[in-house]
Every structure is written in structure tokens, then in C-alpha cells.
């Protein structure tokens, strides 16, 4: 492997069907990047796709109990190899254009090559059957072409001709999306994230994956941009504001917020490793949701009447909410039946929408819960670049957080090739309606890549191939 230039991108999240974030416009730009830029360069290009190229977690089948299991040691697991292959087939069918463009990029120069690093959304590349299918989709039985595709199953990729470059997706530094079993990293060819549930092998399911399968995938169909709010810390905050403020988000989001809290609380008990420093979460969000439901009951809102009719049993929901023992069951039921929480429209009170004073880039659910994926990855990169480190690294490139970062020490984060939610300091986020379809104005994109001349890696640059800000 090797080329005159190494081009690094990440986080395309190419999926299929309702939850696919890689829309026509983004695909058009990616094809143009491959065919109209990389394929035309007068030197060999090694294209490194640094994790989350494909999004298996959100590809069909994306929900259902058969997607999850656990090992005899209670390690949470998700997809089997046949399920991952089914997902890949769906992605290929939805994005043949992308696969053809990659093929043309490889065919344009006999020295062009493709390196794919799995990320937390496409850990499925650890399945041999998935790798075989992927290469077959790209090369169509062309063995020569196939040899120029390398799926790199180690946590970091260091190109042979440019060992001072360290390319890593970065999920292992993020407690929500890291892959560790019994404190050991399971992200390599020798120790892949694959375990048996007693009947068959399955992929390890990190917290983020479990959250998507358990909850978010169901919401994404209606709020297509909900999972574009990255990093996770900010995304959770968006939910939490919805719980407390009826003007900010619909009841549906409030219930979702509660579910997140429950999810994190339960995980803190059952899988403390997942949450590292996460301490027990306060009861506040539960109380906020309760108050919101009780107010809806008192106002005799249509939404409450609908929930009341549908809730199992012959008791009035308002009465049941008075009983602390019943509340948990009610919230669980609501979270499983979000359809009943549909509201015709959520009136936004603009002056109430700001997250002023809470958006310090850190997620602080409670005193002990602070999480900032971007900062965690920066810290990790700076550690690798430390001159005292034996790794002799001069350039670190990561992805994962969807936040582009450029540090003079030699760290780049390429952000993502999907739309993102603008969380700039001076922007006041809107209500949940912006997460619905046709809300492109709030979801610009910035398609970055890092271009490394292998003879001068220190002169690497992060370049924006295409961006759109709807302002």
C-alpha cells in the first residue's frame, strides 16, 4: 500500500432507508470528490476512510429484539454476521452510485488505493463475510482491484510510507462509544469485538449502539436530524431541555429525555464501565417530566386524553401519576409508544429556546457527569504527539466527534461528511421542529479532508471540499 498523497476523510454514515443521513446532495458531492478531484490527480492517492464510512447501526433491519443479545457473562451484544451482511446489502442497494464512484477512483490510477478503518457505526467490518461482500460490491470479481482495498482492523493506521502519521477513528477515547470487554480493548484482528451469546457470534454493542437500537432509531424516522446533533453530549442536552421546557420540545422529546436518563442510570448500575465517571443521575428530569404530564392532565390537553385512552388498564392516568410506584411504568410505556405523543405543532417561544448558560461544551447531567468527546480526543491526540512518546508521531488524524478540529501541535479532526446541528455560541437553537424533514437550514455541512503529501507530512492541511451554510 502507499501513494504520493494520503487523503483522510471520515464519518460519512452511509446507510439506507428512513434513517439514512447520507442524502442525495451529500452523495453527489462525495461522488464529485472521488471522480472530479481524487481520480484526476496526477499522483497516486491513498484514500483513507477513517471510521463510520457506513452506518450499519441505522441500516435496515434497525430495530427489533433479535438485534440484541448478551454473552453468558452479560456483555451486551448486537448484530450477527448474517444481519450485518443484510444491512450491507441494503446500503449497497441504496448507494450503488457511491460504490461505482469508488470503483472509478481506484480504476483511475493503478496506484490508487482505499483503506477503510471501521468506526463504532461500522464495527461490522470485523465480520469476514462483511469484508468479503464489501470488496465484492466494489470490485465485481476484479482481483487486481481487490488487492488495492485494505480494511484495517487495528485501532490505529500508520501508513507504511509515512509512519509518523497516526490515523484513528477515536471512539476508544469516548466512554459512550468505546469497545472494551472486561477492561480489555476489543478492536483488533487478534481481539475483534465479536463474542458468542451462547448460540451464535455477535458484535459487541457499545453504549452508543445500544442507545440507537433501543431508542433513537425509532425517533429518527420522524425527526431525521435527531442523530445529527453531535457530539453525544450536546445531543443529550437537547433532549434534557425538552424535558423541562414545554416550549422547547414536544412531549415526545420529553419522554425521550426521560428515557435517556433512565438508560444512563440503568447502565451506571449494570455496566459501570460504560459510563466511567458517570455518577448517579439526579431525579430532576423525572420530576420535570412528571410535572409536565400532570400539567397536561390538568389542562385536559388532547394529547393527555389520547395517552389516557391508550394506556392499559381501567385507571385514569392522572390518578396513577400520583403513585410513585406507577410512574416508572407509565414513563416506560410512553417511551415505547411514542406515536401517542404526536402533537400537531409545537409552538416555539423564541426567547425561551436558548441554551445559554448550559452550553459550555460539557454535558453536565449532574455534578459527576461531565463528558466532552471532542476534548477527550484532543487530549488523546496531544498525548500521542508528545515528543516523549515512543511512538514518534508527528501527525494525528481522528474523526468520530463530527466536530472539525485543527491544532497547531499536529492534530486534525476531519469532522463529518454528514449534516450537523449548528451549536455555535451565538446561535440560539430552535425547538424540536427543526429536527424534522426539510429543516436543512439548521443542518449545514462542511466536507473536510486532510491532505498529506507523504514526503512532507508536516505540511498536511485540512481542506474543505464543499460546504454549505444556509445563512
Amino acid at each position: 500500500m502507499g501513494g504520493d498523497h494520503i487523503i483522510v476523510i471520515s464519518d460519512l454514515h452511509i446507510s439506507a432507508a428512513a434513517l439514512d443521513d447520507f442524502d442525495c446532495e451529500l452523495e453527489r458531492h462525495f461522488v464529485s470528490f472521488l471522480e472530479g478531484d481524487l481520480a484526476l490527480r496526477p499522483y497516486a492517492v491513498e484514500l483513507v476512510i477513517n471510521g463510520d464510512f457506513l452506518d450499519f447501526v441505522q441500516a435496515p433491519p434497525h430495530s427489533g429484539s433479535n438485534l440484541q443479545s448478551q454473552s453468558p457473562e452479560k456483555v451486551p451484544l448486537c448484530f450477527t454476521q448474517p444481519q450485518s451482511r443484510q444491512k450491507l446489502a441494503a446500503i449497497h442497494a441504496a448507494h450503488e452510485q457511491t460504490f461505482r464512484a469508488l470503483q472509478r477512483f481506484l480504476a483511475a490510477n493503478a496506484a490508487n488505493s482505499l483503506v477503510v478503518l471501521p468506526g463504532n457505526h461500522d464495527a461490522d467490518f470485523f465480520w469476514p463475510g462483511v469484508r468479503e461482500d464489501f470488496i465484492s460490491f466494489l470490485c465485481d470479481r476484479d482481483a487486481v482491484l481487490a488487492k488495492r482495498i485494505h480494511i484495517h482492523l487495528q485501532s490505529a493506521y500508520r501508513p507504511n510510507k509515512c509512519r509518523q502519521v497516526w490515523i484513528e477513528h477515536g471512539q476508544q477515547y469516548d466512554p459512550v462509544n468505546s469497545f472494551f470487554v472486561s477492561e480489555r480493548p476489543c478492536w483488533s484482528e487478534e481481539n475483534p469485538p465479536i463474542l458468542s451469546d451462547g448460540k451464535q457470534d455477535r458484535l459487541y454493542a457499545c453504549l452508543g449502539t445500544r442507545f440507537l437500537i433501543d431508542y433513537l432509531n425509532n425517533l429518527d424516522a420522524e425527526y431525521p436530524f435527531v442523530d445529527n446533533v453531535k457530539p453525544f453530549a450536546r445531543f443529550v442536552r437537547l433532549f434534557l431541555v425538552s424535558v423541562a421546557d414545554p416550549h422547547f420540545g414536544p412531549m415526545k422529546a420529553a419522554v425521550a429525555g426521560w428515557r435517556i436518563i433512565e438508560y444512563l442510570s440503568k447502565l451506571a448500575l449494570t455496566h459501570p464501565r460504560d459510563l466511567l465517571g458517570v455518577e448517579k443521575i439526579e431525579e430532576k428530569e423525572k420530576t420535570d417530566l412528571l410535572v409536565r404530564l400532570q400539567e397536561a392532565a390538568r389542562r385536559k390537553d388532547a394529547i393527555f386524553a389520547r395517552i389516557n385512552d391508550a394506556y392499559p388498564g381501567d385507571r385514569d392516568l392522572r390518578m396513577l401519576l400520583s403513585d410513585p410506584a406507577e410512574r416508572g411504568r407509565i414513563f416506560e410505556w410512553l417511551a415505547d409508544h411514542l406515536d401517542f405523543l404526536e402533537e400537531p405543532s409545537v409552538k416555539s417561544k423564541e426567547d425561551l429556546l436558548g441554551l445559554d448558560g448550559v452550553d459550555d461544551s460539557y454535558l453536565s447531567l449532574s455534578k459527576g457527569f461531565r463528558l466532552n468527546e471532542t476534548a477527550l480526543l484532543v487530549d488523546a491526540a496531544i498525548g500521542l504527539l508528545d515528543h516523549r512518546s515512543q511512538e514518534a508521531v508527528e501527525l494525528v488524524i481522528m474523526g468520530h466527534t463530527h466536530e472539525p478540529v485543527e491544532k497547531p501541535e499536529g492534530y486534525y479532526n476531519t469532522g463529518s461528511w454528514t449534516r450537523y446541528y449548528r451549536f455555535d455560541g451565538d446561535v440560539r437553537p430552535s425547538s424540536w421542529s427543526i429536527l424534522k424533514e426539510q429543516s436543512y437550514v439548521n443542518f449545514p455541512f462542511k466536507l473536510n479532508y486532510v491532505d498529506i503529501d507523504i514526503d512532507h507530512p508536516s505540511a498536511a492541511q485540512m481542506i474543505c471540499f464543499k460546504s454549505r451554510d444556509y445563512d
Partner: protein, 388 residues
Amino acid sequence: MIDVTLDVKGNGGLLKVVWRSPAADVASYQIDFNRLMNRSAEVRDRLHNLITTAMKNRSDHQSLRLGLELKELARAGRKLRDAIFFAEAGYNDEEGFEAEEWLVSLTEVVIHVTIDRQIYIPWGLVYDGDPEILSDEAEDISIAKFSGFWCLKYRLSTLYNRIRGGIVRNPRTTGEARIVKLVNEGAWAKAFNQVSEAEQKLVAAMFRENDISSSKDFEKIWKTQKKCLETDLLYFFGHADGTALAFRKGDLLTMDDFPEILRRKPPADRPACMVFLNGCHTAIGNDKEGGFLQATAYGGFCGFVGTESEVPDVFALRFANAFLSQLLYTGSKAIEVMDKIRRDYWPLSLAYNLSCHPDFQFNPHGVIPPDMLPTPDFSKDAIGSEKV
């Protein structure tokens, strides 16, 4: 017997407390409202545990093993007591201490609490004495051991101070008594089918008129047909909370409906109407919206009997049957009946409080009472598997 009045009036975050004997004001000081509310919440939380454990005991076919829960309730009741006597510094704080000393020095006392705003405190669950000397035996639930609860020790009753003393004069004869029964049919049927035939007969004798089982019917019969003018006792059985009663899912009688529906002219020729709200949490209310304390203090009403927590359905039905039959057929006053039934139905009876005029009564003269029920034994008898 000495009648002591504890008069509590709101004043921002502070409540003014006045202890009165029939002769004079004994002590007056101010206490912190929030502290009182927090400690009340603790008491109700312990009461909830007591009820939940009782239901579990009976569903496991065990006798009631509630000694520890009662001790915990006593502990919380003791803390509530301290909040009542612990005056805010600078607000005649020594008078709180004096009031405490004075109350301890008395014997044979009955306490009437009168309040003037939305203060929902489980006064009857305040505990005198040291809960730490109570044993840790789960089986030991004798009433004598826990006689420090104010509802037992002082036969405590609570009254919204808008209700005047004279409104329960000239008791109605039992033969003329008009009782309107509002029911959640589902809840009623479930509980009713679990009591003995003798008890079902007693119920039939007490409630002679048709049940009302929807808010629409209640409004029609109560207002349009002027049933309100001739009712002596309004009884509800069903699911409830502190501010609403449920006839069925989606059909509620809420606090907002009460002024419109319940208001009536005070009758001149008969006592005010008493209300018995036999559902969960009916005595709790809240300091913002209020609760049934105000709702049952409109002209022509003399307050209500309610609950400080959830109650198991069969127990609730039987408690009310016993209470009402004693009230109708013995001529005893509400405070005396409550004291008797509380002892007979110990310890789950702690869930009930008397927030009505303590002297409300009927005159049973000339009425042949139906067969009265034997005192139940809830170590064996069903209490119900569902909360009402």
C-alpha cells in the same frame, strides 16, 4: 377532657401557630412552612411504605408484619412534631418550647387543628414520645405500643377555619338521612364482590339511592335536580388523587369543577353536608392548587374524611362501611366514630384523617339498626390486592 385548638395561619414562608385552651391563648410563634412541608412528605412516604408492605404481606398470605414500618412512620412523625414546636429564631421562639411543655403537662386532651390556607399536613401522624425505644419486632404492631400518634393520643381532627362551629347543630335523624354515593363502578365492583354477604346487606341498607357513576350525571342530579339541597352525606368510592376524583378513565371531577358543582346555599334547617372521599391521596392536596380541604368548605359543607396515602380497595370499602354504619346507627359524633374505627382497623387506619367538623352526627332515634359487623381481623381477612 380538654379541648385544645392548634390554629395555624399562613404568612408567606412562615406559618403562625397559636395554641389555645378553652380559657386562653397559651402560646403563639412562627414556624417554617417549607420545613413543615418537607417533613410531611417524609411522613407520607413512610405511610406509603406501610401500605405497600401490608399489601405484600397479605398477598403472600402472611399476617401484617408492619412493626418496622410503623417505627419508621413514628420516626418521621417525631420529626414533624419537632418542626411544629421548633419556632423560627426571633419569632417568639421560646413560646414553641413553652407550648410543648404545656401540651405534655395535660391529660385527656383532644386537639382540633384549624387552618386558614392551603396547608396539607398529616397532623394525625405527628408522633409524641421517643420512636427509638420502640422495638424492632416486625410482628409487634399492637396499638398500645404506638399510642403516641396524635390521631390516637389526642383524637385529632382538622378543619378549614372557614367552617363555623354552629353548622352541625340539629342533627338529622338517620331515617331521614340522605346519602349520595358517587362511585367508580369498576373499582366498586372489584372491592364489593370481595366482602361478605352480611356486609353487602349493610351497604344496601345505608345507601338506599341509586349510585351516580359519571360526572355528567352528578352535575345533572346535584345541580339541575337540586339534590344538593337535601344531601346530608356525600360519599365517593373510587380512584382519586389530591385534586380529582375519577368516575372512570377520562371522566374526572376535578378541583376546577368543584366550585361550580359543589357550591350550595347553606341549609337553614339541617346540618351541613359531610363528605367522605374514599380514594387514594384525597387528603393531600397541594399548596398551589389547593385540595379537598377548601373544596369541602363551601357554604353548606362541613369538611371531609380523606386519605393521606394510597389504600387497598377492600380495606377502604370496609373501613368506610364501618365508619358510616357507626355514624348512622350509634348517634356518635364523627370524632368518636373515627377514634373507634381507627382502633378497630389498626394499623392501616392511619391512612385516614378526619378533616371535617368533629361534632357532625346523625340521630338514630326510632331506627332499627341493621346487624353491625364484627371487628375484622386483617391478619386473616382480605385487604385487597389493588389500590383504590
